[in-house]
């Protein structure tokens, strides 16, 4: 009886150790991979068309989803914000509410979540399939470094696109808030803009949002290229990698957002 329990406990510990071991190993490989991407990124700037092609795929092709989502989020913010603010007789502050929530939080975070599912997953799929069809190995045989040729441009394409997409998201969102608040509901236009301009600081609010979206861009792009590069080269393995990209990106974005926010916005 006691022996049986001991075996069960040992088995459980072995399983936990195995999972932990695997996890740490992957983390170590991810760190080494990140260093390699940075080391080999010279080529992605010397042969700029490689990076430009990736900006097209991850940045330009995400424009539609970013603009439409930003507009709707801004409009919802306008509606909800008005509903709450008018209870306290301060509907004039609607512009402040919309602009601050978008530039500080919603712009960077929601744009990064959308970016992870729209662009991150396709980056992972592309690299994973290249690995599954042994294109990466073939490159290696031809003395072309696959990290320099395929991975680094995708990484930098994502890093460059992300802040621009987040800024666009915030700007379109503010416009959506304006549409609902001023055009539809009838908040005073002058108060909407002037209160917004009075309370939104470029360095404190807008620029911190840009820094956030840059950090998210690095995180999402790194996770996407790493999961693709590390994919098990089968159809099942690639699909599992894509799933992990979306899940890990979302978790990384939200956790990083908390850390960055606690550094940036401490209320002086």
């Amino acid at each position: 009886m006691a022996d049986k329990e001991l075996v069960a406990v040992l088995g459980l510990m072995r399983a936990i150790g195995h999972v932990l071991n695997n996890w740490l190993q992957r983390l170590g490989f991810a760190a080494r991979f990140f260093a390699m991407v940075l080391l080999y990124s010279g080529q992605s700037f010397r042969r700029l068309h490689l990076t430009i092609r990736e900006i097209y795929f991850s940045g330009f092709q995400s424009l539609l989803i970013i603009v439409v989502s930003g507009l709707f989020i801004g409009m919802v913010l306008g509606m909800q914000g008005y509903e709450t603010l008018q209870r306290y007789g301060s509907a004039d502050a609607l512009g402040v509410l919309v602009a601050l929530s978008l530039t500080r939080e919603l712009g960077p975070v929601v744009a990064a979540l959308l970016f992870a599912s729209r662009a991150g997953s396709s980056i992972t799929a592309e690299i994973g399939l290249m690995k599954a069809t042994e294109q990466l190995t073939a490159m290696d045989m031809m003395a072309v470094n696959p990290i320099a040729r395929v991975v680094a441009p995708k990484f930098w394409g994502g890093v460059i696109s992300m802040p621009l997409l987040a800024a666009l998201f915030s700007a379109v969102g503010v416009f959506g808030g304006y549409l609902v608040g001023v055009v539809l509901i009838g908040v005073d236009e002058g108060a909407f803009w002037s209160q917004m301009q009075g309370s939104v600081d470029f360095r404190y609010d807008v620029w911190n949002g840009v820094i956030k979206s840059f950090v998210f861009g690095v995180a999402v792009s790194l996770i996407a290229v790493f999961e693709g590069y590390d994919a098990v080269p089968t159809a099942e393995g690639v699909s599992a990698s894509i799933k992990r990209t979306v899940v890990y990106s979302a978790l990384a974005i939200l956790a990083l957002d908390f850390v960055l926010t606690s550094f940036m916005f401490r209320g002086l």
């Binding site: 430009i52 900006i55 097209y56 621009l164 666009l168 917004m196 470029f202």
Partner: protein
Amino acid sequence: MSRKLLDLWVGFFVVVGFTALLFLALRVANLSGESFAETYTLSAKFDNIGGLKVRGPVKSSGVVVGRVSEISFDAQAYEAVVKLTIDGRYQFPKDTFASILTSGILGEQYIGLDAGGDERMLKSGDVVAKTQSAVVLEKLIGQFMFNKASETPGEK
């Protein structure tokens, strides 16, 4: 897709992104209107600044004429020292009165400047001599309660 077309679309994307950033900077954060072209600095000492914050507005007759640029504590005199950055277009007399006011009942606090009648003007680096501290609501309520309690019922 040809490389030219690719470049074109990416260029379009980058332009759109930077336009959005410019919109956030100029229209939302009003980067252009915030910075006064020419400014000079005044300082003022207060016993109590209440909830005044750095970047809070300095108003005269309700018009924003400057910003609070720095708040520090003078450990010798036990007073708050507030540095004000005033728009260079506006000059104030030597005997200007600075007081800490509140916009609305619970609004943000700002510094109000009431011009005096002196013919000499304040220069950069000068100290505003006459100040009035923030009204602390708790103290006011406390005083009011105290006065009410000391009133004898018969007097009414």
